[in-house]
Symmetry: C2
Subunit: 302 residues, 2 copies
């Protein structure tokens, strides 16, 4: 898949995860550092972790073909600009050229979910058409066809979280009502099952396990929305595998098995859905996988 | 795009449209013959039009690199088998190998909408990510990325007609309720605006032009469903162009302008939708374009 060593970063709102890959795609260094918000914070911290990763790999930075970055927000890949990365306190930053100026090698940007999709397909050995569904604070997807991501005309491919699909039509910050993200995401959970805590999924999982019927209803709603998202991906690109990732993974098998069972029930009712074989094609990204960092590294200069 | 001469066929329920392309992709012969239902009928008629096209092009059949066929139904491209092509009276037919045996050159099959998408992108000179939305008896889409179709794991990519999205939840023959196809398709029109006539769109267009308020409501429902389909494609693959094709095109500008206006209104309400620029990206396949036949020819042995 790759023939040159690369560095990949997954720049999130709380931490930056980085990997260095060798010529064969093996991870030869891995680091995690806290995110520093703001334009200068993002630049300084990403430059620092690049240097750390090169040192960890026993190479000079110049020995790497480039740095790939997966970052939330709207990514203009051609110009290396990220916009509206609210979690990072960045409204518009030419991160690509600015970081390249500091580290001395090419820097390419991708949306974080697209990067995770590339990394998930690569690390899980999935060929053909692969969909990656990120259930995090928001809901978004990545689509890979024969190893290459579908980015779309403006880098917005996979933004299915803003597809209106819920008849309850909860208001979404995007200006529409009933978006998938208002049902199946961490932010949705905080709104319709406001239990507090450090992570909306952790509190929900504990309450479901303790037999709380309201928590069960909230989980069922989440499962229903996630299954709808899988179906959107199924009908649109007919993936051979749908990989679930994102922070809500910590809900574990009640979430995955719920999604699989919802899809299986729909397959019973419709031969048309059954033909997509979605219930058997749902996979889960392994816990702790640095998929977005790996994917960003793979996508350097592609 | 292509470097060898090919023959392409669009096999439909009432007619077979065929083209012969030369090495540079120019049409050098074009024929239309009536469809003949049943397995032997399909084989005999497709073999006949292949011979006619070769004669029309002034070449022997053996001088063509292959025959590409776009056909409705479920297409197993790897094995050249078409299943459930109800309009043609075919439940399962190994059309690829059987026709290749009769004409002596390779034969490849594609879903008719996928073939039309390939042909539309080629003939309209559209690069990058292109979506093709077919509003015919049913509703389906084709997705092209950098000239290559996204077929999916089983050839079902683009079957968004069976995505449940309508809160009125009309029953769909597929076993679900509220599918896009129950709103924005010729079969939907026949069900919810049963005016009769040879074509559900022709009667509707005439009644709208005559000021019939029920017809106007039916057209608005159709427009709404078609705009939803465009939005599904927008959020999933972020196309740089969305081409509308299919028999309901005969509704003309009231349909297209209605779709554009619906999308423009939604763009006013949501920056998120506005970023996809769908209202300005909707295009219409030129009337009479043999897009599916051309696309099938292009896809020979790809």
């Amino acid at each position: 898949m790759i023939t040159t060593p690369r560095i990949g970063l997954d720049v999130g709102g709380t931490k930056i995860e980085g990997v260095a890959l060798d010529e064969s795609g093996e991870i030869v260094a891995r680091r995690v550092i806290p995110s520093v918000p703001g334009e200068e914070g993002v630049l300084t911290s990403t430059a620092a972790i690049v240097a750390e990763l090169a040192t960890g790999a026993g190479r000079g930075v110049a020995e790497f073909a480039g740095v790939g970055i997966g970052i939330p927000g709207q990514v203009d890949r051609a110009n290396g600009i990220v916009r509206n990365a609210y979690n990072l306190g960045v409204s518009s930053l030419a991160l690509g050229p600015a970081l390249a100026g500091r580290v001395g090698i090419p820097v390419s940007l991708d949306n974080d979910v697209t990067a995770a999709a590339i990394g998930a397909a690569f690390t899980m050995g999935l060929d053909g058409t692969v969909a990656y569904l990120n259930l995090g604070t928001g809901l978004a997807a990545g689509i890979i066809v024969d190893g290459a991501p579908v980015r779309g005309a403006d880098g917005f491919a996979g933004e299915i979280g803003h597809l209106p699909i819920d008849p309850r039509r909860r208001a979404c910050p995007c200006g529409q009502c009933g978006c998938l993200e208002t049902v199946a995401s961490g932010s949705a959970l905080r709104a319709y099952w406001p239990a507090g805590g450090d992570h909306p999924g952790r509190a929900l999982g504990a309450a479901v396990a303790a037999g709380d019927p309201d928590a069960r209803l909230a989980l069922d709603s989440l499962i229903d929305g996630a299954a709808s998202a899988v179906r959107v991906l199924g009908f649109t690109v007919n993936p051979g595998a749908v990989v679930i990732g994102g922070g809500l993974r910590l809900l574990g098998s009640p979430l995955y098995e719920g999604i699989r069972k919802t899809l299986a029930d729909q397959e019973e009712a419709s031969e048309f859905i059954a033909a997509l074989r979605l219930s058997e094609r749902v996979r889960v990204l392994p816990e702790g996988s640095p998929a977005a960092a790996i994917g960003a590294a793979i996508a350097v200069n592609d």
